[in-house]
Amino acid sequence: MGRYLPYLAFGLLALGLACIGLFADRFVLYLTMRVMLLSIFALGYNILLGRTGLLSFGHAAFYAAGSYGMALFYLHINPDPLMGILAGVVLAVLVALVIGFFCVRHTEIYFAMLTLAFGMMVFSLIWNLRDITGGDDGLVGIGRNPFLGFSIAKDSRFYFVVMFFFMLTVWVIHRIRSSAFGLVLAGIRENHQRASFAGISIKRYRLAAFVISGAFAGLAGSLGAMLERNTDPFSAHWTHSAEPVLVSLIGGLQTFSGPIVGSVVFVVLREIIERFTQNWMLWFGLILLVIIMGFRGGAMGSAERYLVRYGTKFREEGSS
């Protein structure tokens, strides 16, 4: 029974998302796409933060690398959407390899500050290289050509492309977490000194986790550029790097579904609060405070603990 649970959850998720895609109105559709994009970003990011224990403040750079990689490929080389997405991911991977190479030599605050510094460099490059990146205007006019012969010009069609990549991400991240590689990353998080005495090259594994998370940031970025039909230089800004951190914290760092739940909470809350007040950040900050102080381990972490406690109590009552 327990072994089939992931498949069941995966199926239900796909079914729910397909229903939204078929029946929901444009606004809900758009919001769900934003949730899925943020989830892709955060699921990849959590391989680095939740699994490997490295806090990066520079992942917006890889998101932007995905966006601009996709846009530049579309505008200058080939307008095929699948190849464009691939180009975005490849660019993000390359940028992550270079930045990661320098960052994984350090940990904790030094790692965080280095990623922040590199992230700011990428932002200022995008901001200043106006001829290539469009500067503060970003790149505009990204069309959506048919995806494998399937028209995606309408948002209601493009939704299924986003959904496909979201489900792909969920599957891949799940595989990574239950693999030998995933366990070794957890070992490095728990005790990196001991891990190297287990015959593990820590730097190489940290770099691998860094690049994997960068690749998913790039995937989210290239899909984001297609969704908005333009690129936004502020997607490279460090404030955007904070989003996957917050989302992981809200949902729960040590859980698989945490980043997804966190993304739903983040996007929907923001949408609701923005209707009532201009200062959504103030109210969002307060809610975040409650979640972090009240639900340690995030929403999913708390739910898990509650279930375990309830389960033991239930069993004890059953046996007595």
Binding site: S179, A180, A186, N191, A195, S196, A198, G199, Y205
Partner: protein, 253 residues
């Protein structure tokens, strides 16, 4: 014939003016339990750190089974068969006992980089993990998180992590520190039993003289970065210089 497992040539290390290893030359022989003793600050821990790759040496060369390992990073030395345990509990706290052993097994069979293959399908790895746990009588606790073990069991688990990489040479840094007398006797028995199988050669750094003299075949006495005595426990017990600078009253009484 006694074969040389580890060979150290002219090894030197100094921190500023403090010399912790002064042109050390020695060999470790396979199958012998060797102890390294010396007063605090004699350079015992530094020596282990240099040999296992955590600290670089200032000068000198290290050979493992005739192969030079002087410049190799820690994980390469581990893969070649040199491992260590630590003075303080040093396990993967939030992982289960099983996973604690699984990581080094994966590291040594070179499967740690498998990104997509499901871990529960690696039955060969699982068998090897259970083998190690059974050797240490920890098999019943396999699914508990490491933090839930008693202090003594955590130390045992740590030796297990080191043994899981099938080291030819294993440094144990004060293996019984913080244990109660019962756990201590059990641990010593375990070390003796494992040593007798001949798969792993143990080098022990210890303060407790009872342990050193009852367990070792050979004792090295380190003082201010220099080996001042090298021989059987009997030789060392009767060595004048050693008694002066280290053993003191404990043996003379």
């Amino acid at each position: 014939m006694i074969s040389s497992l580890l060979k150290v040539e002219n090894l030197s290390k100094a921190f500023g003016r403090v010399v912790t290893a002064d042109r050390l030359n020695f060999e470790i022989h396979a199958g012998q339990i060797t102890s390294i003793i010396g007063p605090n600050g004699a350079g015992k821990s530094t020596l282990i750190n240099i040999l296992s790759g955590t600290l670089p040496a200032d000068a000198g060369r290290i050979f493992l089974q005739g192969r030079e390992i002087t410049g190799l990073p820690t994980h390469r030395r581990v893969q070649l068969g040199l491992c260590r345990s630590f003075q303080v509990v040093n396990v993967f706290p939030e992982l289960t006992v099983f996973e604690n052993i699984q990581i080094p097994v994966l590291g040594i069979v070179r499967k740690a980089h498998h990104v997509f293959r499901a871990l529960h399908g690696e039955t060969g790895v699982a068998d090897r993990v259970m083998e190690v746990l059974e050797e240490l009588n920890l098999d019943e606790r396999a699914q508990s998180p490491a933090t839930e073990l008693s202090h003594g069991d955590q130390r045992l688990l740590e030796i297990g992590i080191a043994l899981a990489v099938k080291p030819k040479l294993l440094f144990l840094d004060e293996p019984t520190a913080g244990m109660n007398p019962v756990e201590r006797v059990e641990t010593l028995e375990t070390i003796r039993r494992l040593s007798a199988t001949g798969r792993t050669t143990f080098v022990i750094v210890e303060h407790d003289m009872d342990i050193v003299f009852s367990l070792s075949d050979r004792v090295l006495v380190l003082h201010r970065g220099d080996i001042i005595c090298d021989g059987t426990p009997e030789t060392v017990k009767n060595d004048k210089q050693t008694r002066e600078c280290y053993l003191g009253e404990e043996v003379m009484e």
